[in-house]
Point group: D2
Chain length 296, copies 4
Amino acid sequence: KLDLGGIFPPLTTPFSPTQEVDYGQLEGNLRHYASIPFRGLVVLGSSGEFPLLAPRERLELVSRVRRALPRDRLLLAGSGCESTRATIELTGSMAESGADAALVVTPCYYRGAMSSAALVRHYTEVAEASPVPVVLYSVPANTGLELPLEAVLILAQHPNIIGIKDSGGDITRIGLIVHKTQQEDFQVLSGSAGFLLASYAVGASGGICALANVLGAPLCQLEHLCRQGRWQEARELQQRLIEPNAVVTRRFGIPGLKKAMDLFGYYGGPCRAPLAPLSPAQVEELRGTFSINGWL
Amino acid sequence: KLDLGGIFPPLTTPFSPTQEVDYGQLEGNLRHYASIPFRGLVVLGSSGEFPLLAPRERLELVSRVRRALPRDRLLLAGSGCESTRATIELTGSMAESGADAALVVTPCYYRGAMSSAALVRHYTEVAEASPVPVVLYSVPANTGLELPLEAVLILAQHPNIIGIKDSGGDITRIGLIVHKTQQEDFQVLSGSAGFLLASYAVGASGGICALANVLGAPLCQLEHLCRQGRWQEARELQQRLIEPNAVVTRRFGIPGLKKAMDLFGYYGGPCRAPLAPLSPAQVEELRGTFSINGWL
Amino acid sequence: KLDLGGIFPPLTTPFSPTQEVDYGQLEGNLRHYASIPFRGLVVLGSSGEFPLLAPRERLELVSRVRRALPRDRLLLAGSGCESTRATIELTGSMAESGADAALVVTPCYYRGAMSSAALVRHYTEVAEASPVPVVLYSVPANTGLELPLEAVLILAQHPNIIGIKDSGGDITRIGLIVHKTQQEDFQVLSGSAGFLLASYAVGASGGICALANVLGAPLCQLEHLCRQGRWQEARELQQRLIEPNAVVTRRFGIPGLKKAMDLFGYYGGPCRAPLAPLSPAQVEELRGTFSINGWL
Amino acid sequence: KLDLGGIFPPLTTPFSPTQEVDYGQLEGNLRHYASIPFRGLVVLGSSGEFPLLAPRERLELVSRVRRALPRDRLLLAGSGCESTRATIELTGSMAESGADAALVVTPCYYRGAMSSAALVRHYTEVAEASPVPVVLYSVPANTGLELPLEAVLILAQHPNIIGIKDSGGDITRIGLIVHKTQQEDFQVLSGSAGFLLASYAVGASGGICALANVLGAPLCQLEHLCRQGRWQEARELQQRLIEPNAVVTRRFGIPGLKKAMDLFGYYGGPCRAPLAPLSPAQVEELRGTFSINGWL
């Protein structure tokens, strides 16, 4: 089975000033990331503005990243759509374009109808059809929907479903998923740098963390300390990452994440509308948050 | 300005047993609706499973309905996407395909970033670019996001934004929108049959109601009674519509709505996955609800 | 049965500058209210800061108001506690002190355990034991809990439960409660001035409205217009009341309500801590809101 | 400063079949607990049904437990009321009755008005007046309100506020509170056994866990393993505690907790109404949950 153990940045999608995808800047960022011991990369996660991209842009992005990425690094590609059929089709295309696994977000527009049974059926059909392994993706802050524990435990038994990215931050649930899937070789990935140490403490395998776009090396170091059982050092490092993580996620979202990338020598650039740039005061708050925690 | 006064069914999209769009069945339904005094029709609203349709299916649907619809009936087409640019593009295509106005749902995946300012900017850009008038669409049950009152009041001043479909059901808010936009000739449409009378009582102009797919004539009758000030009769009719409305919306969603269409001689048929058909027990509950209120 | 038809102000509790109950100021307010055609008064509702009052203060308040109130005006007293036994005991004391009916808020601290069955049992025991009729009270903004429709419909059949104050503002639900309790002679009271007209339109009997502490006469006039079927005039009046209502409830709470009372010649005075006075800027916003709607 | 490091059971309050406090059964439970290495006990927490107890019952409970408890074990007593003045008074009485510290829950009925500033003022006044140290208590599942981080950080600087019981389960927030109060010698207690290991991992000092009423020794063992850095063993133990914890808290509440106490040889007994006993099927689910995790 694919080993997901480690840190993955969910890549942002660079845009030019006219909001076209800027593949050159993307490749520039990838060159910077090459020296960081990531387990792999995620394309078209929430941080990648996937809902704001056209179908052909999505495929092109996967192809480009695949070409730039050494074969020993994993490429996960977001392929979740609202309908089961579109998800199956996009997952197939992603695999053809070089994705090692598909990260499939829960459908959510009809969340009132997304019962545990409906979601189990959806993911099972996708996993049956997919040429590559499937990673579940639960991100209630975006979808207003948590993939129910009951559904996760059923889906974990499917041979082509190998893990979950859980961005909800309910550490009790994360611990319970680890516990109840011990027989399944199912891998749990923390969906945020804010609770990465805690996730490792309860048995997670790794993390897909927006902050890794900015502070990739310290996150890999945190992973290393956790794996080695150096919890005291890990805790000190984790604590300095909570506030920086908050400003690039909940507080300022992707515009904040991209601005932080700019501050750290990567290409962040603009977002696509309706995502709006930070105000100067917000930029100062962002900078101050990294600075007070010793990163700038 | 386009007069939106009256009732609009947000058409369901008929699918064949293999979940392909069945245009023949659609045209059959339209023939039935021709004798009901609707103000017009909505294509690609939430009831139309728009997020489950491919781009070319969306355009084809608008063209087909336009061709089947007399010119004195309005055609509203849903054209909201997550990005501003895609919304502008799709709105243009809808207009070319014959839509009289565009119904534009709030973007929602990045709801944490959808401030009032961001939404005002989004809708303003769409309205500037759109060849047809724009109707705002706030539906928190699906989007997890209510278009803020403050944004509505600003957008109501735009000459190409002519109204709002409000499905949230907060009657105080609906009354306030009517009150604060009196100078703008802005039209408020009730987004559900459950609070249609109350919406008329506080000054709404009409309704886009899923239940109109099933009980179109009674809804037009309710509208007629409200306009004539026959409130006692209106109330009695409204009360018999609340529970049937609930089972085709919140309780059983689109699968319930389509099953009710089947029961009333229209073509409902299956939904696209991940929306799942009702169980036999649910069908009985649905039938019982229409029956106990005197409709079956 | 007790006829609840009409408007009731849920009295605020006047405090001296040292936060002691000021019965003199209370009686002053009551003299002002005597000339307004209220159906009666409510003591110890949410606006009365009941959770901030000691048991003996609660009883004293009821006695004082009863003494000051003509016999043809109803006195409703809040008597809901967290335990069933305390609620029964306080309801009995309220009746002895002169209350015509008890207004019983849902217990809420253990809201996770407040199933429909648990609430039906609670209210049934209270109603069995109470020497005066019971009015249910559902106020989710304070309790985080809505008395489920199913429970309301069962409780409406109890001979000693005569109505509900519904402050949730879901007009569909209010209409449905009216509809499903037609055989029970059950009376529905709007819990807010914001949706008073809409509540009348769907069949409510009256309202218990915080704003009646400030604008009692206009609210009685609104009730009069609704009862006479003068809906156009009613609508115009209702619309001017929505924003003033919002600032004395959701926006600024009881401190806002009391400040508005001060502005209109009643005694508002301070709240008990932890409720805090408005800032000067908030007072100006409050004043402006009444002014722009033509009340100041 | 008082050292809160360790595990505290928040005692349930035993009732006789007629729902009177049964002090004899309480003392029986305390004798059992004497052999478990708890840091101390909590009286009148949420698990103690404090909102369902009369004032004199509350004081009597504190006195009785104090008398039964060795002086080297801490006694924390819940003293939070809705008003600041009542909280101050009850806190004083608790101290007189022998409490070593007061556990003060956030006021919550007027949660819309409970701004960070209002809560800072409330707790500051209570801490100023209290003869014993104050522990903050944030429990959103009951109060619908989380004590804002900003307020916690300000209050942590007060010399008479020594810690917080955080039951919300947001491990990122818990880690951040530890991090931002390092200079204050402020102690963070996990409010649940579900995230106890994770809380230790991010720097908490201990836990006040309902489950400790039932599985006190394993929880003290878990604490011991965490303190010794034996994380692998700790994790295995933690994982077996998550589901048992869930059934005595979120899933079945205090009736579930008391029934589990009965199963484990303590006196659980009935709850006060409106809390209702478990159904036989629920008892079996409860028993099965402890059994499947190896505790029965």
